[in-house]
């Protein structure tokens, strides 16, 4: 019984996703521990992003159940919710493999859009805000403060009024994470957050993720190819290959699992025979 099975924030149960005759994900079950950083790794085409799209509602799973346990005791079945409600009600936020910022809007505006739902309530669904009634003004100021807090975390406070499209690639990645955090998530799903980052930026990302995990009530689920990120910051690693889970455990355990080595990590040429024998491929 590992720690992530005790009180998981997300339980993925028998998740299957078929596209016509192709089974992208087959009978996948794993848990995402509360307060953990969980990594989902695997070779290209293993179905990692499909799992993400199922969790965040962009795909409807063919079979299986996705149970989100919020810290206030609410249970949400994600496979039954439309995508925007998964963020709004179940508090699952995500980023994208190919960054999706609002390029023509300023960095501050990007973070304000992320706080849309609470602001809509505060403005009485626009009517109160339009007439200048209620607590909209205060909520607006609070939302700007939240945005400023995150801008300080990602070192972009000086560029708050610059268009998001003007940022460098690494800054855009961090802004997307900050924007997802502005929705107040309990589970943050990051699709290859370190892709295209240089070693320094990669290090900053690690710090940011560890900060998020420590200071906020947010668990992190990430897809990553960069093993230095995975091994360093994650508490729990799930390995997929051809849509099937081939390993699940601590980074230390996974790193030495012969199945993972054979499918994904690879070994020196002279060790190939030995690994093949262990896994059972001859």
């Amino acid at each position: 019984m590992s720690t992530w099975d005790n009180n998981p924030v997300l339980k993925v149960e028998h998740l299957t996703m078929r596209f016509g005759g192709l089974t992208a994900v087959g009978d996948l079950s794993f848990n995402v521990g509360r307060g953990d950083i969980t990594a989902l790794i695997g070779p290209n085409g293993a179905g990692k992003t499909t799992v993400f799209n199922c969790i965040t509602g962009f795909y409807k799973p063919t079979e299986g159940r996705l149970v989100m346990n919020r810290s206030n005791g609410e249970k949400h079945l994600l496979e039954r919710k439309p995508d925007f409600k998964i963020t709004a009600e179940a508090k699952v936020a995500r980023t994208f493999q190919n960054i999706r910022l609002f390029g023509g809007m300023t960095i501050l505006e990007n973070l304000m859009v992320a706080q849309h739902n609470p602001l809509m309530v505060a403005s009485n669904w626009t009517i109160g805000g339009l007439l200048g009634l209620g607590g909209y003004k205060k909520s607006n100021v609070d939302a700007i403060e939240t945005a400023k807090y995150w801008l300080e975390r990602i070192d972009l406070i000086d560029r708050a009024d610059a268009p998001a499209a003007d940022l460098s690639y690494g800054d855009q990645r961090r802004l997307e994470i900050a924007r997802a955090m502005c929705t107040g998530p309990e589970l943050l799903c990051l699709d290859e957050p370190a892709a295209g980052l240089n070693p320094k930026e990669s290090l900053e990302l690690n710090t940011l993720l560890q900060y998020i995990r420590k200071e906020h009530d947010t668990s992190v689920l990430l897809i990553e190819h960069d093993m230095s990120v995975v091994m360093e910051i994650s508490d729990h690693v799930v390995v997929l290959d051809y849509g099937v889970k081939i390993s699940d455990g601590t980074p230390e355990f996974v790193k030495n699992d012969p199945h993972v080595i054979a499918a994904y990590l690879g070994v020196e040429d002279d060790e190939v025979d030995q690994v093949e024998e262990e896994v059972g491929i001859v």
Binding site: A88, V113, T126, A160
Partner: protein, 444 residues
């Protein structure tokens, strides 16, 4: 060295001017050289008239003009590639001058009828105030459509449908129930918004070109229904005798109890025209005020975010269907207001006023002005509607000039006259506008 460069410039200029002349000749041969006319006095026989002198003049003017420009103004070896952008002003307006322009135009709009009365007298100014009313109607329509196309990025080619719904709502309510303008105005807006939602529900799942086609079809459906439902709408005969608006219950009529009598003025029909002018001015300013305010609210930001990236919006928990519907409904509502104003101003409406061309003109105003820019819409409406009416004397050449102006504007400023986006919220006082190159145009 100097001489050689001079020489090559001369040769290049000659070549370029010759090219221009050949193109002019090819175009002018058909467009200017041949003229089909109906012979008068010999029955309705068609005959062909040749105007080779005009063709020759055109070719010579183009050749000489291009040659001189090449030699003395452009002075570059790659002269032919400079094109139009070379001698048109560059860049946008600064914030300071943009503000000056904004308030200048506002003051001008407020004093315009009285200034015209002062200079031209009530008889002479009437047609100009009428023109100003028309321009303001299009400004309001442009601002309404700007919510849908400019902010939310939904291409709507059937906007005139909501204009028609507004106009017919007022005309029919007045016709069947005898409601006054002031009761019908909000009702017309609500009905148009309602139709906006009715249309929105099935079509907003479509994107881009598909959405445009469906909205176009919707605009036509409304017009065809109005045309064919003879018992209810009067069909092609239209509806006449639509009641005029009153000024807090005072009618603009001659004699006792009228507006002029109440204020002790001498009756003059211009009073009603001026009243209509201020009515549409206030309606347009309300549209502007609401839009500008909404832009700074979560719903407005969600519209713009939707234009930038719909998938990211959904990942942030924004209900994109509702957000699109509100944009559609609000745009439709302002279209409906403008429509009921149109009905009360004309006193007569028929489906002919609500053809696709209207939609196209309104969309052209929004696009030429710069998507999402309020000021741009005003400038474009003044240029397009005002200019179009102003050059009425040029008759058939008017369309030609009109088309030319549109081409020139689009080449010079592909993203419209005012193409920078103002951030809806900023930390620093002097936040800059965002260049249009970064702003998405939306895709449905």
């Amino acid at each position: 060295m100097q001489a050689r460069q001079r020489d090559s410039l001369l040769v290049a200029s000659l070549k370029d001017s010759l090219g221009g002349a050949v193109i002019t000749f090819a175009l002018a041969c058909v467009m200017v050289g041949l003229k089909v006319d109906v012979a008068s006095g010999r029955g309705a026989e068609l005959f062909l008239e040749h105007r080779w002198l005009a063709v020759a003049t055109a070719v010579i003017v183009v050749f000489a003009g291009r040659f001189l420009l090449n030699m003395f103004f452009w002075k570059r070896e790659d002269a032919p590639s400079i094109g139009i952008s070379g001698f048109l002003p560059k860049g946008g307006l600064g914030t300071g001058s943009a503000n000056m322009l904004k308030y200048g135009m506002l003051v001008l709009a407020v004093v315009l009828p009285f200034a015209l009365m002062f200079w031209l007298g009530s008889r002479g100014s009437r047609q100009y105030i009428d023109l100003a009313i028309l321009v303001l109607t299009y400004v309001m329509l442009g601002w309404g459509l700007n919510i849908v196309v400019g902010l939310a990025g939904l291409l709507d080619l059937g906007y005139v449908a909501f204009y028609a719904v507004g106009a017919y709502s007022y005309a029919l309510l007045a016709h069947y129930f005898g409601f006054s303008f002031w009761i019908c105005l909000p009702l017309a807006g609500i009905l148009a918004a309602f139709w906006g939602i009715i249309l929105g529900f099935p079509v907003l799942r479509l994107r881009g070109d598909y959405l445009a086609i469906v909205t176009l079809a919707f605009g036509e459906i409304i017009r065809v229904v109005l045309l064919n439902w003879y018992e209810f709408t009067g069909g092609p005969d239209g509806l006449s005798g639509i009641p005029r608006p009153s000024f807090f219950g005072l009618e603009f009529t001659r004699g006792e109890g009228g507006f002029a009598d109440f204020f002790g003025l001498k009756y003059n029909s211009i009073h009603r025209i001026i009243f209509l002018y201020y009515l549409i001015f206030i309606m347009a300013m309300v549209t502007n005020f609401v839009t500008m305010r909404l832009r700074r609210m979560p719903i407005g930001r969600a519209w713009e975010a939707l234009r930038e990236d719909e998938i990211a919006c959904r990942a942030l928990g924004i209900n994109t269907t509702n957000t699109k519907l509100t944009a559609f409904a609000l745009g439709a509502m302002f279209g409906g207001f403008a429509g009921s104003f149109f009905a009360t101003r004309q006193g007569f409406i028929s489906p002919e006023s609500f053809t696709f061309l209207e939609s196209a003109i309104i969309l052209a105003i929004v696009v030429l002005g710069g998507l999402g820019s309020q000021m741009g819409v005003v400038i474009a409406a003044v240029v397009m509607i005002g200019g179009f009416e102003f050059f009425r004397e040029f008759e058939e050449y008017r369309m030609l000039v009109f088309g030319l102006i549109m081409v020139v504007i689009m080449v010079w400023k592909p993203r419209g006259l005012v193409s920078s986006r103002t951030p809806s919220v900023a930390l620093s006082k002097n936040a800059k506008g965002i260049s249009a190159d970064l702003v998405q145009e939306g895709h449905g």
